[in-house]
Symmetry: D2
Subunit: 288 residues, 4 copies
Amino acid sequence: MVKLKLALELNYEILDQGSDFIFNIHHAHTPYQRVVQESLVLSQTQINPEIYTDAATGNRYMRLHANVGHLKVNYQSTVEINHHRAEPTQIAEVPVARLPMQVLSYIYPSRYCQSDRLHKLAIREFGHLWQGYSRVQAIQEWVQKRVIFTPNTSNGSTSAIDTLIEQVGVCRDFAHLMIALCRAVNIPARFVTGTDYGANPVLGPPDFHAYVEVYLGDRWYIFDPSGTSIPMGFVRFGVGRDAADVPFATIFGTVNSLAPSIDINPVHDNSLNYVLPHHCLQALSTAM
Amino acid sequence: MVKLKLALELNYEILDQGSDFIFNIHHAHTPYQRVVQESLVLSQTQINPEIYTDAATGNRYMRLHANVGHLKVNYQSTVEINHHRAEPTQIAEVPVARLPMQVLSYIYPSRYCQSDRLHKLAIREFGHLWQGYSRVQAIQEWVQKRVIFTPNTSNGSTSAIDTLIEQVGVCRDFAHLMIALCRAVNIPARFVTGTDYGANPVLGPPDFHAYVEVYLGDRWYIFDPSGTSIPMGFVRFGVGRDAADVPFATIFGTVNSLAPSIDINPVHDNSLNYVLPHHCLQALSTAM
Amino acid sequence: MVKLKLALELNYEILDQGSDFIFNIHHAHTPYQRVVQESLVLSQTQINPEIYTDAATGNRYMRLHANVGHLKVNYQSTVEINHHRAEPTQIAEVPVARLPMQVLSYIYPSRYCQSDRLHKLAIREFGHLWQGYSRVQAIQEWVQKRVIFTPNTSNGSTSAIDTLIEQVGVCRDFAHLMIALCRAVNIPARFVTGTDYGANPVLGPPDFHAYVEVYLGDRWYIFDPSGTSIPMGFVRFGVGRDAADVPFATIFGTVNSLAPSIDINPVHDNSLNYVLPHHCLQALSTAM
Amino acid sequence: MVKLKLALELNYEILDQGSDFIFNIHHAHTPYQRVVQESLVLSQTQINPEIYTDAATGNRYMRLHANVGHLKVNYQSTVEINHHRAEPTQIAEVPVARLPMQVLSYIYPSRYCQSDRLHKLAIREFGHLWQGYSRVQAIQEWVQKRVIFTPNTSNGSTSAIDTLIEQVGVCRDFAHLMIALCRAVNIPARFVTGTDYGANPVLGPPDFHAYVEVYLGDRWYIFDPSGTSIPMGFVRFGVGRDAADVPFATIFGTVNSLAPSIDINPVHDNSLNYVLPHHCLQALSTAM
C-alpha cells in the first residue's frame, strides 16, 4: 500500500465580473484509492462550492462562483492507494464480444484521439502481436520511441494526429497518441489526470500529470507513456475519454491563472504497511 | 401523442471468419418514448444477442457474433411518443452555475464537434443574442444558411470544422456543426440518432437520421438543423456526444454492408389520442 | 531511346453558359523529351485555343473557352525520350549551400506536401542514412511499405499528412507523401504528371499518372512511389510543387466530365534506335 | 514618389557546426521600387555571400555559410518607390480567359492558402458582388471584421483555414486568409513580405510585415488586411504564393535567433519630389 500527502494551491485573478469555475482537483473516490483525510480552503470565504461525484468514474467535480479579485484554492489530502498487481504475461486482452458494455465506449474515437483514422497504421504496426499486456507495452514503446518530450510545443488543440506527425509534446500528448493507437486495434483506453511522483529531476518539482489506463483482463491497468515519473505514486483526480473530459479547471469568465504549486510527500510507517512508490515490473491497477 | 410503427431491415455479408456487431437500433427507453411492442428476428437462428440499456441515456445496444454468410436483422416496433411542448419565448438558457452536473459533459468538445476552436467565432456571431431558445434557433438558421445538403460530400472523418469550411454535408454534418457552435457559447448540446419522418420528396423514402438536442430550461429540446424532415415524427435510437458515440452498427470483422430498408407508418386512432406528426411552432422535447 | 505514340481523348458536357478551361495535356518540351509529331482536334470547331509554354519547366498550357454542349478534346502525339541514365551508387545529394537557386523553391512546403510538419519524423527515419540516391530510395520504400494503393479513398483535398495517417491512396497520394518526406530532410522534390506505361494488369489500361522527381547530383531523377508502372515509359505533361500546380484540366464553369480514354503504344524500329520501356536498375532522368 | 532609408540588423548565435542561411532581406528590384543605395555588412568577415535575383519576381536571395559563433547581418538601403495610382472604381477584375498565363499560378491553392476548400463559402459571401477592386475590398473587410490581431496565437503551421476558424492571428495570418478567399473566387492573389511603416503605436516600432497583392486590371494592387500600417510606406523584400515561398531567413543548422532591429526613415526633400507615406483612397501598385 502507498500513502501520500498532497498539498495543492491554485491562484487566480478574476477580472470584470465574477467567474464560474468547475474544478476536478479532488482526489477520486475509487475502491483502490481511499481519501483518508482532506481539506479545502478558499480565500473568498463567502463562496459556497458544490461538490459532485460521478457514479461511473468516481471523478469529483467542484463548481463555484468566485467574485472579482484574487482567488486562492488550497486543497490538501492524504490518500491510501492499494494497487492491484499482476504479472504482465498473465494479462490478456478481452475480445470485443466479452467486453463489459460500459467499457465499450472507450474504444470509440474522441476529440483528441482520432482512432478512426489510425486503423490501418495500428494494424500494420501492432496487428500481428500477441493480444495482451505486452501488445499494449509495444504500443507504449512505439510512442516513446517517436515522441520527444518537449515543453511548449503543443497547445489545447493538439491531438493524437498532430503528435504522431510532429513527434513532440508533453505528457498529455503522449497519452492521447497511445490511447488513439490502442483504440485503433479495439483495445479500450482512457485518459487519467492526477499528480506525478518522483519526476525526472530535469522536469522539476511535482506537477499535474496525464497518463493512460487500458482495459485488460478484468480491469484498467496504468501506463505512463511519457515515462517521466513513477506510476506507483500517481494519485488520481479524474478519468475520461481524453483531455476534453477532465480539465483540472474549466473557467467561465475573464481570469488570469497564476502558476500552481503542488507538494507531494509519501508517508513512512513503522508498521511497514506503506511502501515508498517505486518502479516495478508488475502491472498496476487502481480501477475495475 | 404520436404513435408510429417502424420496420427496419439490415443485411450483411460476413466474410472470412465470423464478425462481432454492436447495434444501436432498438428504440430507446425514455419517459417520453414508450416502446409498446417490438420484435427482433435474426436470419442466423443460432445467434444469442446480448441487449444492454445504458441507464444514463436510455440507449439500447445489442451485441452479437454472426457467422460467415448472410445476416439479416429485422427489427420492428411500435412506439408512443408523448412530447413535452413549450413556448419558445418562455425557454431560457441555464447559466453554467446552475446546469445539472450530469449535463455539463455536453459543453465539452468531442471527436467531431471541436467547440474549443470556435469560441471566438461563436461569440462574435451569437454572443450578443438573448440567451434562450431563440439563440439556439439563430445558431440553427446560421448553419442552415451556410451548409447545403449534398450527399456524398462527407465521410466518416468529416467534422464540424470541415463542414464549416466546405459548407456541404448531410444530416450528420449539420448536426455536428450546430452542436459545436452551441457548446462554443456554453450551451449543452448532443447528437441524436433515429429515423426521420415525412422527409422531403427529393430525399426519398424514410431513412436513418441524425439531429440535435439542446439543454434549455430544465430539459433537452429537439432541433433538426438539416431541416429535411418533421421533428415530431422522429423516433430515437441513441443519444451521445456526437456520431462517434452512437453508430447504428459497429462492425468488427470483414463485412459487406448492403443497403438498409426502413418503413415508418403513423398509427391512426379513432379515440383521437394520436396525432399525425406535423410541423409545429412549439418547442418539443422527449428527454429530461 | 524510347519512342511512344499517345492518343488522348477527353469529353465534357458544358452546361449553363460556356466554360473556360486550362489544360495541361500537351507533352512538355524538354531537352530529353522531344515531341516528334502532335495533333489536336477539338469538336467545337470555332474554338481558338491559346497555348503557352512555361520557360522554367517546359510545361505547356492550353486555355480555351468552350460553348454550351459537348466538347471532345483529342490530342495525339509521338514522343522521343532520351533518358539520362546513371549508376545509383554514384549519385549524391547536393548540399543546400550548392543547390542551384532555381531548385531551392522545391525544398519548401506546398499545399499538399506539408514538409514543415515532418522534420522530426523524417530526421528520425532517414537522418542517419548516406546522403544520396539510396536515401531517396529508402524514403520511397518507406512510403510503399506503409501506403496501400486503394482507389476511392482520397480526394482533391487529401494531403501528405492525411496519407501518412490513413495509409491508403492512389499515385498522387504516394507522390505527395514521398515529396514531403524528401523536402523534410532538405532534398528538393517535385510532382510530375504524365501517363503511365505497362501498368499492373490489376489497375487496368493506360491512365494519367503522377510521379516524383528528386534533385540529386546535377539533375532531376524519376521515382515512382506508387510502384504501379514502368518509369521508362512515362511521358511528361507537367511538373510543379504538387498537384495544385499541374491539374490536367482546370475548369471554370458548370461542366460534367466524362471518363477520359488514353492509348499508348511504343514504336518499334528496325534501326534499333528505340527500346521498349522496361524496368531497369539505373537511375533515370529527363530533366536538368 | 516615396523615398525611405531602412536599416536592418539581424543577430544569430550559430551552434555546433556552421550553418547555411538563405536570406530574403534585400529590397526587391522592380520597375517601381528602385534601390538607390544599399550596403551589407556581415560580422563574419570571411563569408562570401551569393546573391541571386529571381527574374520573374525581382526577389533577391542571399545564401551564405556562417561559422560557429555570433553572426550579425547589417543591411542598409535607400529606396525610391514610385507608386502607380488608380481610382478604385475604375479597376475591374480580369476574367480567367484573359489573365496573363504567368499570373494564373496565383489562383491555385498553396501551403497556407487552401482556396480549394473555400469555394462555396467564398461564392456565398462574395459571388454576387461587382467583379472589381471593390469586391477585393469587401473580402479584405470581411477578414478584418472576423480576425482579431493577437500576437502569439499562431505559429509556423497556421493556415488560412485555421485563421478562419479561430479568428485570431498576426499580419501573416490575415494575409493568408485574404489570399485564400480571393483565389476561391478566381482572383489571383499573392503574399508579399517587407517592412511596415507608421505602425499603430500599440504595436510598437517598425517591423517585418506581410501583406497582399491582388491582380486587377493590368497589374498587382497592394492590400493590407491586418490594417496596422500605411501601405504607401511598405518596402518590398519578396513576393510568393504564401509564407512558405518567402521566409526572411531559412536556416539549416542549429541556431539561436535573436530579436531583429529595424529602423525606417522617410527622406524629406526640398524639391518636393518626395511625399511622406500617408493613407490614401487611391489604389496603389508597385508591380505589373
